[in-house]
Symmetry: D3
Subunit: 194 residues, 6 copies
């Protein structure tokens, strides 16, 4: 059986790619043990690839009052709202690893109100989903609700921009029928062997 | 740390339950290795418990042109549509086991259009979701679409009734904040040790 | 002219039915003067019939802080939300009779906010409709709102479970195109002749 | 017990009204045996009253390929979509009388797909509801679908304009909490005594 | 190139029209410099034309606590919600002129929450849009919110009825594919030459 | 009167910005005569600024079977769907200039079905809006519909990715309450003086 395609679009060979893009892929392969399909599929358009990951890194790697695990919670909740299989599964794995919690990704992706998270995190996800689904209605009351939980305005920018960025990402994944690597489904679910 | 509650309602002790209900629980425990929380939580109301599982068994155990794995696909897709964490996680596990496929549950639960399933199964899930979300608009064209894929009218009843039954089940799980057993999250994801 | 069919599915003859199911039908015929079509149509599947009515009776006949008329209000409001003609018409009749009020069924079915009911009943119906339409968003605030009107947690279970059960029932009626008996339309609208 | 109010707004006394408006009311009272509350409540604003009923009459009394019973079907289906109790109940009565059919109003108001009507009437109601709910998406294909059932362009204007007019009317009834006269609920349900 | 049609329906010649309708058109032409297409297109049905504009004038010309510019804000916001190009463009022009503000029409039509308007006007538009989109849910709390901003009950009737009237108007414009006159797009955007 | 703020967040001074960002602003100022507020507001976060505009340029400046005017049509239609005032107004101006058409931006932003555009452009906008609103449902039939109008798969990527990118952009603009420069409202509406 031929393996299912990872994208509706042609997938470039690793050695046909510009050096910087190939280097990025090898770096993530080194760390994760495999190359996530989003890298391979988006490399079809090198300029967009570079901008996409520059934006991603600017949001996901910066210092913030929102922890890295919390940022991945936002990604997974937004993926659920946008019916995006790739981000639900791939970022679900990252969330499980960052949070060291094998349950939280499915909880947050299906219904964050039922997740084992703090009230502060619930408020964060409610805001992220409002940005994803009804951003035109965001108003001062939404900001105030987050400030009550100790988020400052830069944190709120982070929450909103991560939600917005993955609204782009989810749509691209749906557009090109991006397939999650099989590896993601299990990552972070089983305690590491010592 | 106290473990999180499995229900908003009081959870009966096993030995305080009527014999038939306790017997049912011990039977499932024997088979699964643990008692799924839906049994424990719904036992708060024995008469409703009996009717619920009688209905469940009538639909899920009967002979049908819809396989048991396909019936679980319906359950998981409907749980996704209804934001029901319990059924997404618990029936996701059952689906992985029945289908001997560690990926299909997340695929079907998040976006069945992206799942590794047959066109016949996609038509089945489209119908099941229409029953779940817009049943008032079901018409002859919907029946015709399923018959083209080889489903007969009794199969269509099964598909529709399973969707309808889990619309009840999802709402009860959401109402009482039913918590999935931790065991479900991993079941069927790792090949069994010989 | 042939009378319109009462179901998309074959309708069993009374004397071909299992004894317990036929007995149930004769009992309701004795009381109502006719056999409601839901009995006849669902008897196509005896096991599901038994579970369906066992569940129905467990919810609708038990002692509760929610009166029988109020339970029928829930059924009619949910039927309106689900575009279910059978339950709107059949339970509308039962509601008129239980409430001894010829107007309330249409009011509650079309727009409960305009009905001649108490604030407590309006809160009950708001909750029932949230269970029907957005059960994933039910939270402690919804429980608190009902407790303020004197409902205890068991009453809230009743309200929610009746809503959930008729979400199943409405979907089945829509699936099989269940036709209300003509008799229901007029029942409870005209004062009984002395 | 004081009778419930028929409007959120002051209701004018009959003898305080301008002559033409009082005459209109007496005329309808002569015919129906009572004055429908919409006349009384809207008379609070005589100029709007006159325009409202002039528009109503222009649409509902003109010669058309759409029968008077069919026009009332449109009104009742649109009232159902707009959760408008007044029009559902009052025009339900008129529909029953015009169609000499005690069942059709509830059928069309709750779910026209389940009503005892012709395929042509179903197409008409599908169009009327699209005008009510998504008029921005009306296109040539919608016109073509109606022409196939023998409606000409003037009939289509009638169908669309009746839907649009009652979208105004339903909103006004909801705005002022207009209460249907008790008489409407029973009208047309019982064969007239000879 | 033939100019695009202004309506799906035949457009009457000015000199074939009844005197009163032609007079109305010449009057508006005198004032505006051109005849807005809504006059020409609706004249296809003289009786409906008369009722439509009588209703329009009763609402838009009467004395009210809602200023004429505010009434046009309602029209433009409702047109945006109903995807009605004609009213968005034509009443956008009128709003710019009445408010002597070249920006406010686009602001209010796209997202009133971002418009340069007062909190009182924002509350007014929130109410108008609720009447347009969910009138069945209007309740006393909505009235109370407007009264807090100094609107009395007659003002609230005006706000609600203008919204309701343009829900009719928007649907008619969408039904007949009414085209805005080119002139409207620029009106009120450039300071008048002295 | 103080001018209204252009963002909920602090707006950096031009001379405090990194050289590359200031250079970009001066370049656009040179061309447009003013600095669009999106540059000024997003410069609050230089890294995100760079990624945002790199992505923007990769999509909007590349060679494509989708013309630059058509790409701006997508932006304006998506802005309308997302209630984003900034992009509706700013890209409306750019669209008017690129298309040399003072009417098309309002048409496409309010209801593209009523716009003076080609059937090919209507198909393009229907797809772009499906990506914006229901990307999880994109399937082969959507691709086929665009290919029938002569779009190839790279064009379809462009259409989809522009829609997706502005779903990000619209959410950011709504999040920070980004205010369009007053200049945009009039640009492209008046023929240039020779």
């Amino acid at each position: 059986m031929t393996p299912p395609s990872i994208s509706r679009y042609p997938v470039p060979k690793l050695d046909a790619l510009p050096d910087d893009i190939r280097a990025r892929m090898l770096e993530v392969q080194e760390k994760a043990g495999f190359i996530p399909n989003v890298f391979v599929a988006l490399a079809h358009r090198p300029d967009e690839f570079r901008a996409f990951f520059a934006y991603h890194d600017a949001l996901m790697l910066r210092d913030s009052g929102v922890t890295k695990a919390e940022r991945e919670m936002i990604v997974v909740a937004v993926a659920g709202a946008n019916d995006c299989l790739y981000c639900f599964v791939a970022h679900g794995a990252i969330l499980r690893i960052y949070a060291k919690n094998p349950l939280v990704a499915d909880q947050v992706g299906v219904n964050y109100r039922k997740a084992d998270i703090t009230p502060r995190q619930r408020a964060m996800l409610a805001f992220a989903l409002k940005v994803a689904e009804r951003s035109g209605e965001i108003d001062e009351a939404d900001y105030a609700a987050l400030r009550e939980h100790g988020f400052d305005d830069e944190d709120i920018w982070d929450i909103g921009n991560i939600s917005a960025f993955f609204c782009l990402s989810n749509r691209m994944a749906n557009l090109i029928a991006l397939r999650p690597n099989d590896e993601f489904y299990l990552l972070g679910r089983v305690p590491k062997q010592k």
